[in-house]
């Protein structure tokens, strides 16, 4: 410190730093010595820390970061935590395997576990098509309503999840094919118009009466084998009920015309190929709980 800065504050007798604001001068009081020692202590600690813990990042030409004597690694720690979580879960997971679906639904603890794991598996795998909470979308059935194409029981849902729908690699997949009446020239355009009028009349819609009655005959000949004489559908072949208010591919005239002309034959993967049995069971319980379970 240069000489001319040695300004002494009169009342306290303490040297000032020479800084002055509005006539107020800053005193240059000495720091307590223990403060200094604590600072030295932190330096010593940091050196020890760098030796014991991974501290120096991978520098070019040095390969990896330093590992530290303690062998601490966040990556290993995470792996261990995941492992222990898995071990914890496997207890409940194996309980899921042995219990029947009904037992899972009635046992409060198992049910909670299945719901939690089912919900997260649903979000990861199913919600892309069926929407969060099974809200559905055009072409993708709503799972929260009370209409089912194939089955709405616990076992039925489990089967669908396991084997998929029209998933050709799985011999046990749920399978049926609706003919593309227009594209494959099975029906004339006029005939399709008639049958669509009839189909819409089944759910009480206002239609062209003449067309509808012409369509009734075509329906009996072409459609009733699967959708039933009254159009109430057949779950063994996944033929939807045409008399209710639920239309997976849309219930407007254009939508239904399109369906009859081109057929839809939607596909769902067989999740048994990708998910383990406990997860499938959890999913079945979860989907069953969404509001439509039978």
């Amino acid at each position: 410190m240069s000489e001319h800065h040695k300004d002494i504050d009169q009342p306290t007798g303490v040297e000032t730093t020479g800084h002055e604001w509005d006539g107020i001068k800053e005193l240059n009081n000495p720091l307590p010595r223990w403060w200094l020692y604590i600072w030295y202590g932190t330096i010593a600690f940091s050196i020890g820390y760098m030796v014991v813990m991974p501290a120096i990042p991978a520098l070019p030409g040095l390969g990896t970061n330093t590992r530290g004597l303690a062998g601490q690694s966040d990556r290993i720690a995470v792996a261990e935590q995941v492992e222990s979580l898995r071990a914890q879960r496997s207890a409940s997971g194996s309980a899921l395997l042995t219990a029947s679906l009904e037992e899972i639904e009635t046992d409060r603890e198992l049910q909670q576990f299945a719901m939690a794991s089912g919900e997260s598996a649903f979000g990861d795998n199913c919600a892309t098509c069926h929407g969060a909470g099974g809200r559905g979308a055009k072409g993708y059935p709503t799972l929260a309503d009370d209409a089912w194409l194939w089955s709405g029981t616990l076992e039925g849902i489990q089967y669908t999840l396991q084997h998929g729908i029209r998933h050709e690699e799985d011999p046990e997949t749920r399978f049926s094919l609706m003919p593309a009446f227009g594209r494959d020239r099975l029906l004339e355009r006029q005939q399709i118009d008639d049958v669509v009028n009839h189909v819409l009349s089944l759910s009480g819609r206002e239609v062209d009466e003449a067309a509808s009655s012409r369509g009734a005959d075509i329906f009996a000949a072409q459609c009733a084998s699967c959708h039933g004489a009254n159009g109430t559908g057949d779950r063994t072949v996944g033929a939807p009920n045409l008399t209710d208010d639920i239309w997976v591919f849309g219930g407007e005239y254009r939508d239904v015309y399109n369906t009859v002309y081109n057929a839809r034959n939607a596909h769902m993967p067989a999740w048994g190929e990708r998910l383990d049995e406990a997860t499938i069971k959890s999913l079945a319980v979860y989907v069953h709980s969404l509001g439509g379970g039978e």
Partner: protein, 485 residues
Amino acid sequence: MSRVTLITPKSPPPAPPPQDLYAKRKQIYPKLAHGKFRTVKWLAMAGMLGIYYLVPWLRWDRGTGVPDQAVLADFAGERFFFFGIEIWPQEAYYLAGLMILAALGLFLVTSLFGRVWCGYACPQTVWTDLYIWVERAFEGDRAARMRLDAKPMSFNKAWRKVGKHAVWLLIAFVTGGAFILYFHDAQMIAQTFFIGEAPLSAYWFAAILTFTTYALAGTMREQVCTYLCPWPRIQAALTDEHALNVTYRYDRGEPRGPHRKGESWEGRGDCIDCKQCVQVCPMGIDIRDGAQLECIHCALCIDACDEMMKKVERPTGLIAYDTDIAVARRAAGMRTQYRLIRARTVLYAALMVAIAALMAWGLLNRGTFEVNVLKDRSPPYVRLSDGDIRNGYTLKLVNKSGEAREMSLEANGIDGLQLEVIGLEATEAGRIFLPVAAHGVDRYRIFVTVPQETAGGRDHFTLLLQDTATGELHGNRTSFMAPGD
């Protein structure tokens, strides 16, 4: 009121010492004071320590299944218990309110009477006082301690030092141990702690508080107040020339100087420069230098000075609780006046009353039962096969009372509305009875279906819950979504 200039009494500036960047701590040997403030401080200390160590042992019956400890922060159970009050995590704002009240209380007291908190109630002051008491028991009072420290190590010195530190550590451990009693059942943790079965966090906290108590009250002492604590800085902004602070009345004391018995008091001040006020000061400062950041306003220098004044047969109160303005006015030959009611004191007091009233009102009127209805966001609504529209909800019932309840549930507000609770049957009258556990949260899934003729756009309905035993009613207006506008 005429303005007066405040002047700080100046002792002649000492010759500037060669200044070092770092200063060694000067050991302070506070002498034992006798007098009314020392007595008050002993009582305050006994009170504070008593509260701290004994409160966790108080019991308060809250019924079965709930802890019976009067004051308990139960982290595992997510509850805070304070006698008859039970605070849930979502009500943490009561704790925030308490903190604000405490801060305002500190402001008010400081603007009225200076650092009363520092002088009498702060744990740092209380435990330091206790530690000095132990020190005095082993090593004697100021003069004896100074002599002992100057002597080379001997058996006599060794056992006194070892004994002192041992007792300090014991007090530190009891302090750290008492802390964890506030977070666990006191009786249970006191037993499991010693057989090694308490949770790890309990040992950690006990260890940390043992260490801090020993270090801060035993070895750091006044340095905590001067260097670590923010309060001395804050209080400078809260105190003003009208606040009653421990003050050396220089108007009466100066000019100071030794006085021999029989000499005249004419033309001189009452301060006989005996330095008793400096010797008793736990902060090692001289109050006669004026208001200082270090001064914790413990008032021990008042006691020391009063004792001397009695000896020399002068009136006591040369050092006293006084205001800067009063001293300055007297020095200028004016009449003194005290103004405890000032804008800031009124404001602090008013704020305190307002907040306390708000909290009391909230506590008195808070129900022991809460209804939360969470509407499913996805799907917002579901069209059923017959065309009707259904919405799903999660009903959360929070029961803060110690008794289980049964609530009957009804819904109305939309024509043709139908209510269904998953897992529960409705009676013929369309009512559904929901059991709710004591001190708990129960969740129910409910479905509300509205015929397509009356559904459309956003509508509202009311869920009505009634306690079947007491008739207590809770309504909750909730929205219902349907396609359309």
